[in-house]
Symmetry: C2
Subunit: 434 residues, 2 copies
């Protein structure tokens, strides 16, 4: 009552002040407003599991899964790039044909999931689809190809995957293939980067409007793709070597080059890439036995115990190459359970949510929020203590707001950046056609 | 009241008598009990039409469609083989790649339709699936490939289509291709039957468990497939030359050979194949103009006006090769409308339900009900006066009962025969694996 005239001014001033430390419910409101994408969802690997339904609520504790519709709602995750993942197999005509068929069917399974639940999900093909589908209250399903081994030696199959809906492709996975060197092949470089076919691959993706991804590829492949691609690259699920020196992470200089060309790095939450991992010979022996039992090659697990394996050995814990990537259905479940037992007997240090944030903040300081996003490798080995599944996504938003990043920054990180890359790829395609 | 004791005896006698002329409602009850398949449903060509939904009721009069879920219920049609049809195009690497992609996507569209309406439809892969799905009250969706041009020169793509769900494949359509000669290519024979690749095609389908189909193929192809195939052949939508001398129909001797080897002919209801068609030069000129307007090649229509075109010219009316087979969506609708106008201006004689029955009865007399069925070319040019869509299916049952065929005969014709062929293909595949 003493200074009634000053009240409106005070109110105005408070409202205009940026909230340095927003309350969790404010952060949640912001998180809900954003279009939130993860750029590497390995969830489609679960679609063929008997009885597994994306509309049911699962838990990491019971079936190790990390993404389903109820948890997307709870975690405020609007969608992203759903991966057609193919484990690297034999580079024989039979191996290539089998990989092609498996990848096509994984794509079919993604489309069947969307068709079956068309009230909740929608396929996205163009950059503009993201906002439209989000506004309609549905989850956004872009498709990506992790490991382009399925195209074999037939470049025309890139068009096939594009027609199926794929808008992001990366050449290799944990081993070298006919297109490119991997960052983690224990035999070292085969092509000194991209093979001649791999260069054709890059040249073919550009005019189609496919974003090129370099996660899992050797640094030399990254360098050559950065040079050759007419549109910005993505590292759809990678981290900074500066925060943990692992071959699946990338050095500061390359992250800066990526950003300088308009690209984006989407930070991975896979524990083995976030913190140093010791070599435990007994663990590696148990893993080797497990792989033999399931008839799997285990390049990374083998590397772990071998000379010079070093930090790379940690990938034996979490890398999907080391998680029975080529197994399906009940076999995959059995393998994951046995893997869980080995984890219990010979535990490796587990990265925490703070480790994940350390990687995110490190990269943000390096190149800023227009070049960083999230590709946490959900259902592909990602997840940390304190964020075991996508219900933890709002914590990332909350924490980054506390660190002073704005809603606009978050909008870029959660989807704006990758949509910008898709738009650039589309524009390149349109220009090629004209 | 005079002879009360004789009443029970009389009742018993009447009940035991076979109904020589069953009432329509009895026939309908029998029709409902049977598992009823058509082995050549071209309906998937409608799936990509904007706004076209299989759950809506359409009519032949309004959109020329002949199959949808409400009409399947009304017509008591339980399912069948849903075709992945690809119009013959250029035999260049680009043409082959485009055909492969188009056919794969048509397969994807079939699977999406089933996923979207999984309470009403179910994909069928094995012979045993038919009864199981029918008992569950759903419509049965086997997949077939009409024209194997999409496999190009890559035999391994047969496995791809098998994995996608295809259980029946025919090598050619209205023109010769890299696999085989067509029955209607105006240039005549190119391979004197199957090409060397076509022989590989036959050898590859057998161990996979795919039924081989010879509709649209030249007689020489039929002869060679009959010789080479380890399991009985199907003519999924063909007719007897003895009832109308058209190159798309087949002669008595070959029908008998087909039956002797356990095979089956599924009678087509396409008007141009059922009755002789006159050559109308003005009509052919209008058709030629229409094809130019839509950028289509028109091999059959051209043949109609040419020397020696004869009866084959009639295919310009109804054959799907002459119905804008390669057109999609709105373009297809526009083409069909324009085609309808030409039909109005220059009408061809229209076959009737009686003509269709004449073809069926002719073939039944030749080889019996274990070797005859129905492949009416719905949504691919089939349909006659008095049976314009699948709501007419019960009339076939009613009429055949009147002709003295039994419920068991009808069960074979409507699905038992083709399921027998699929079982034979499966057994061959199992034997190959052992």
């Amino acid at each position: 009552m003493k200074h009634p005239a000053s009240l409106p001014l005070l109110t105005l001033t408070l409202a205009a002040l940026p909230a340095a430390l927003p309350a969790a419910d404010d952060a949640r409101a912001i998180h809900e407003r954003l279009i939130t994408f993860d750029t590497h969802l390995d969830t489609p690997a679960n679609f063929s599991k008997p009885g597994w339904d994306i509309m049911d609520r699962h838990s990491y504790e019971t079936d190790r899964s990390q993404v389903d519709y109820p948890r997307m709602v709870q975690g405020g995750l609007d969608g992203g790039f759903w991966a057609i993942f193919t484990a690297q197999g034999p580079r024989t005509p039979e191996g290539l044909a089998a990989a092609r068929d498996k990848a096509l069917m994984r794509g079919v399974e993604i489309r069947e999931m969307v068709a079956k639940h068309s009230d909740k999900f929608e396929l996205a093909f163009d950059a503009a689809d993201a906002a439209r589908i989000h506004a309609a209250g549905k989850r956004v399903v872009y498709m990506s190809v992790e490991n382009s081994y399925p195209i074999g030696k037939d470049i025309s199959l890139i068009q096939t995957f594009y027609t199926l809906g794929v808008r992001m492709m990366s050449p290799a996975h944990t081993s070298n293939n006919d297109l490119a060197d991997s960052a983690t092949d224990t035999n070292g470089s085969e092509w000194q980067g991209l093979s001649p076919l791999g260069k054709e691959f890059v040249a073919e993706c550009n005019p189609l409007g496919i974003i090129l991804g370099a996660s899992h590829s050797a640094d030399s492949v990254f360098d050559q793709m950065l040079e050759l691609s007419k549109t910005p690259l993505i590292l759809s699920h990678s981290g900074p070597k500066g925060a943990n020196n692992h071959p699946r992470n990338i050095d500061d200089e390359r992250i800066k080059q990526l950003a300088a060309k308009g690209g984006v790095i989407q930070i991975n939450s896979l524990s083995g890439y976030l913190i140093p991992q010791p070599v435990i010979p007994e663990r590696n022996a148990a893993l080797a036995q497990l792989y033999v039992k399931f008839g799997l090659p285990a390049p990374q697990a083998r590397g772990a115990g071998g000379a010079g394996g070093g930090a790379a050995g940690g990938a034996g814990r979490g890398g999907r190459g080391g998680r029975g990537g080529s197994l399906e259905g009940a076999q995959r479940t059995a393998f994951m359970q046995a893997m869980g037992e080995i984890d219990e007997h010979y535990p490796l240090p587990q990265a925490t949510f703070e480790d994940y944030m350390r990687h995110i903040l490190y990269t943000l300081k390096l190149v800023g929020p227009e070049h960083v996003g999230f590709g946490a490798d959900w259902d592909g080995g990602g997840g940390v203590e304190g964020m075991r599944d996508i219900t933890g996504c709002p914590k990332i938003t909350e924490r980054l707001l506390k660190e002073g990043y704005t809603e606009k920054d978050l909008a870029n990180m959660w989807s704006g950046n990758v949509i910008r890359l898709l738009k650039a790829a589309e524009d390149c395609a349109a220009k090629t056609k004209n």
